[in-house]
Amino acid sequence: MNDRPLAAPAPEESAGHDTAAAETPKIRLRGLCKRFGKNVVLDALDLDIPRGRSVVVIGGSGTGKSVMLKCILGLLRPEHGSITIDGEEVVGLRGRERDRILRKFGMLFQSAALFDSLPVWENVAFGLIAGHKMKRGEAKDVAIAKLAMVGLGPEVGMLSPAELSGGMRKRVGLARAIATEPECIFFDEPTTGLDPIMADVINDLIIDCVRELGATTLSITHDMASARKIADEIGMLYQGRIIWLGPVDRIDHSGNPYVDQFINGRAEGPIHMEVLKR
């Protein structure tokens, strides 16, 4: 049913070492399980994110998309399964080892998650100052340049996050995510809560920034317009597993009734929403 296998061949299965390195996905999830009490959120999830590609995971609310991202980032610990980044197992890493892996990542949070106590420029420069030990003056210059990349002037850098609109907050969040020029960028519902025009602006910025950095990206969304625009490949998460994965131009011909129902936004279909009707 999938247009590409969820699991690429393991490196050791390949004939030559160079081929193996080339085929090792940037991020590989195998048999990932996460539950909260009796609620199984991720159920033996398998997914490969190829190097330099933009993969978007779609799925309904509460299907575990954010949990998957948080497991990869180490914010949540899976009960079972493996997460490898550049072939290195990261489940259970702590302290400096974990920080070393996290320096490869940037993340745009759904709510932008800007630090209220810091001005905008310091939010953007945070990873440079705290993680990369850059001097504050130098980091401020980089932050102003990154703000310019997302269409915000230097005067915005002096504002407090509380003074920004929703769209500006997202743009500052994007500037923070790309400030350290990470190898991987995660986008958690990048267009949620924005008007359609601002959502398209954010989509364009994501495409431009990612193209410039050459980063591998993993986005989660239920905004199909956004998914179609920013994805190279789309996967659908349902009941804790990726049930379909393929190129973005195949999504309308997936042959998967779950995907069809979701992308067309139909109430009738194999996915039943639990709605109490009187």
């Binding site: 948080k70 914010l75 920080d99 990542f105 993340m107 630090f115 990873g127 705290a130």
Partner: protein
């Protein structure tokens, strides 16, 4: 049988909570002494906890000292021991009322603010954002607050002691008819180093408790505004109770016969 099960369940829950708190405290303390140390944050917290608490602690101490002088005068006059007013005021202030009242006032002001700030950061994913930026939240948020509160509370208490004694002096000389010389003489002659030192040790313990409770409840808050509200309330209540309990044990440590 059900009653025994209930006791067992409550006991297990209490032990689990105590264990979580101990692990949280241990992890945070380890970050206090290991680099990188965020001096800028420690300085900001010292100003926030120490300097900005001065008005509330000062006023509390001033009126407590004044009331104490009045009450002791009334009580001691029943057996013609009015001359003990200055001595009892200074001992009561330095040993007990200075540290305990300053601790409780700062618990209300600082512990609540820490729980609210860190709790809001938790529910708005700012703490997750810190982690993704390769910054340990314990090191960046918790350790500076613990260190700043533990250092600043003793200094606040020394100020409270001074202002409290001053409050007693003002009432003693202005209203109760003591001469300046005899009041100061009775204050200075009978105070011992241990009286002040025990209060300072208590204050350091209270400062640690205040910051720990504020940070712990804020860090573990869940569920939006209501969760942050609960965290704030729990921080103030638990810090206040722990201050009173700790006060007894530190007092016993210094003064048990």
């Amino acid at each position: 049988m059900k009653f025994l099960a209930l006791i067992g369940r409550v006991t297990l829950q209490f032990l689990a909570a105590a264990g979580r708190l101990a692990i949280f405290a241990g992890k945070s303390l380890a970050h206090v002494v290991s680099p990188p140390i965020y001096f800028r944050h420690i300085g900001a917290q010292m100003i926030s906890i120490g300097y900005f608490s001065l008005p509330v602690v000062g006023l509390t101490a001033l009126f407590t000292g004044a009331v104490l002088a009045l009450q002791i005068y009334v009580g001691s006059s029943r057996f013609s021991a009015e001359s003990t007013v200055a001595t009892v005021v200074v001992i009561a202030i330095t040993r007990e009322l200075g540290p305990v009242l300053a601790g409780l006032m700062v618990a209300g002001r600082v512990s609540a603010a820490m729980a609210a700030e860190i709790g809001t950061m938790r529910v708005t994913e700012q703490i997750d954002a810190l982690t993704t930026l390769a910054t340990n939240p314990h090191k960046y948020l918790i350790a500076p607050r613990l260190l700043a509160a533990t250092v600043m509370l003793p200094l606040l208490v020394l100020v409270a002691d001074t202002i409290g004694v001053l409050g007693g002096y003002m009432v003693g000389t202005g209203k109760l008819g003591f001469s300046t010389g005899s009041y100061l003489k009775n204050t200075v002659n009978y105070i011992e180093f241990l009286d002040v030192f025990s209060g300072v040790v208590k204050a350091a313990a209270f400062g640690f408790i205040i910051a720990l409770m504020g940070c712990y409840h804020g860090y573990h808050s869940r569920g939006g505004a209501q969760g942050v509200g609960s965290a704030t309330r729990n921080a103030v209540v638990s810090a206040s109770i722990l201050i009173l309990v700790t006060n007894y044990f530190v007092t016993e440590m210094f003064f048990s016969t």
